[in-house]
């Protein structure tokens, strides 16, 4: 089957920043993304688990976008405008997709 190169961007960010991030992505015409709940983890602020969170201040979510390579810079500029000073991880991977017209 023919595949097409794309970029997969995973942004793990504080739950409180989710709507700001997705609004910024939409404004940058990145309308395709998936939001995943994060169950827990460990980082510079120590260990945490989602079940132990009582507000939205310290939980995390992951926003996953798959886009054409030439649109990567626009996405990163939009995302960094929001998440630059916040706790989180941004990672970029090469991937292949089957239906290129969807990205």
């Amino acid at each position: 089957m023919k595949t097409h190169q794309a970029k997969r961007v995973e942004i793990t960010i504080e739950a409180i920043m989710q709507s700001r991030l997705t609004d910024a992505l939409s404004a940058a015409k990145v309308t395709g993304y998936t939001v995943l709940p994060v169950l827990g983890g460990s980082g510079r602020s120590g260990e945490w688990v989602r079940s132990g969170e009582i507000g939205r201040a310290s939980g995390m979510v992951q926003v996953v976008c798959i886009i054409r390579p030439e649109r990567l810079d626009g996405l990163l500029d939009a995302a960094f405008g929001v998440v630059d000073k916040h706790i989180g991880v941004v990672s970029i991977m090469d991937c292949d997709v089957v239906r290129a017209e969807r990205f």
């Binding site: 409180i16 120590g46 009582i54 201040a57 310290s58 000073k85 706790i87």
Partner: protein, 325 residues
């Protein structure tokens, strides 16, 4: 003095406070006891609705008196002013940066609605009445502290702007909407409305509160266990001193307003408590460089347990002594 200690001891041994202690102890002992996330959220929705509704019914029954507006104003003044005192104490007692100190200070001007709910339950158990509109005062004390903290930061030369998203975060967070909304539903429907749903929101209230506080104990204990290392002795001491300072101011203003014994106790509780839901969320947006481990551990792991186990019984006892009840 003996009477104060006796009343405090009786309240200390109430099921709701002992449930919280059980949660903290289980967590510190690394038990696998946990309350499912969805259940904890449902319990909190129930409690906020019930306390807001009953507050509204009380206002409908007794009418709006002249003290309502003044008490709301005092609540706003306390919420805006307490962070300034907290900030001063933090600068004297701790080596926290200006940013961290301002973030911590914001938490101590705002309130903990769970502490407030627990206090109302203790008052009811003791047969002490209070002004129903104290629920509205609690809601009014959520936000001003955040503005004070941002002002403290701007005085240090670092500008922080309040955007519309942040305003929405502060004023329309789910807890506030539910609490204020239920208050107005109770106010509109009055005693008749209460009688329709009393078997749901009156009878099970204390049992639900016990389960919720068990979960809060687990959360507080977990936070203490995993993050206690971030609290230096000065910061820890602040977490225990500030509730005493806040409650003292609450007592003074409560007496000046001529509130009932329960009203004075609740104003003391509101002034003594520290936010761990609304303000942390606002601080993560407005002051992302501030260390959340410090302010969350301090408000949820130190001040909340202190208020729940020792503070509430003492505030109720002191309010009783001051008002001669």
């Amino acid at each position: 003095m003996d009477q104060i200690l006796s009343l405090a001891a009786n309240n200390l041994l109430s099921p709701i406070i002992l449930s919280f202690v059980l949660g903290v102890a289980a967590s510190l002992a690394r038990s696998d006891l946990s309350v499912p996330e969805a259940a904890a959220k449902a319990l909190s929705i129930y409690l906020l609705f019930a306390i807001g509704f009953k507050g509204g019914v009380s206002v409908a029954a007794h009418g709006v008196d002249a003290k309502l507006g003044l008490t709301l104003l005092v609540g706003i003044i306390l919420s805006a002013g307490l962070p300034l005192i907290a900030f001063g104490l933090l600068q004297v007692m701790t080596g926290l940066s200006r940013l961290d100190a301002a973030a911590v200070a914001a938490h101590y001007g705002s309130i903990s609605i769970v502490t407030f709910v627990a206090a109302t339950s203790v008052l009811q158990s003791s047969g002490i009445t209070y002004e129903g509109y104290m629920v509205a005062v609690a809601a009014a004390m959520e936000a001003p502290a955040i503005l004070s903290a941002l002002w403290l930061i701007s005085r240090g030369g670092s500008e922080r702007r309040m955007d519309s998203d942040l305003w929405r975060e502060i004023l329309l967070n789910g807890s506030i909407v539910l609490l204020v909304g239920a208050f107005f539903i109770g106010w509109i429907t009055g005693e008749e409305g209460l009688s329709e749903i009393s078997s749901f929101i009156v009878a099970p209230f204390k049992g639900v509160l016990c389960l919720f506080l068990l979960d809060m104990g687990l959360v507080a204990g977990r936070g203490l266990r995993s993050r206690s290392g971030v609290l230096k002795p000065g910061v820890l001491a602040f977490g225990l001193l500030m509730p005493v300072v806040g409650s003292s101011l609450g007592a003074v203003f409560g007496l000046l307003l001529g509130l009932s014994t329960g009203g004075v106790a609740l104003l003391m509780v509101l002034s003594a408590s520290a936010s761990y839901i609304a303000v942390p969320a606002a601080m993560r947006v407005a002051l992302p460089e501030a260390n959340p481990s410090i302010y969350l551990t301090l408000s949820l792991g130190v001040t909340f347990p202190f208020n729940l186990t020792l503070g509430i019984p003492l505030y109720v006892a002191v309010a009783s002594a001051l008002t001669g009840a």
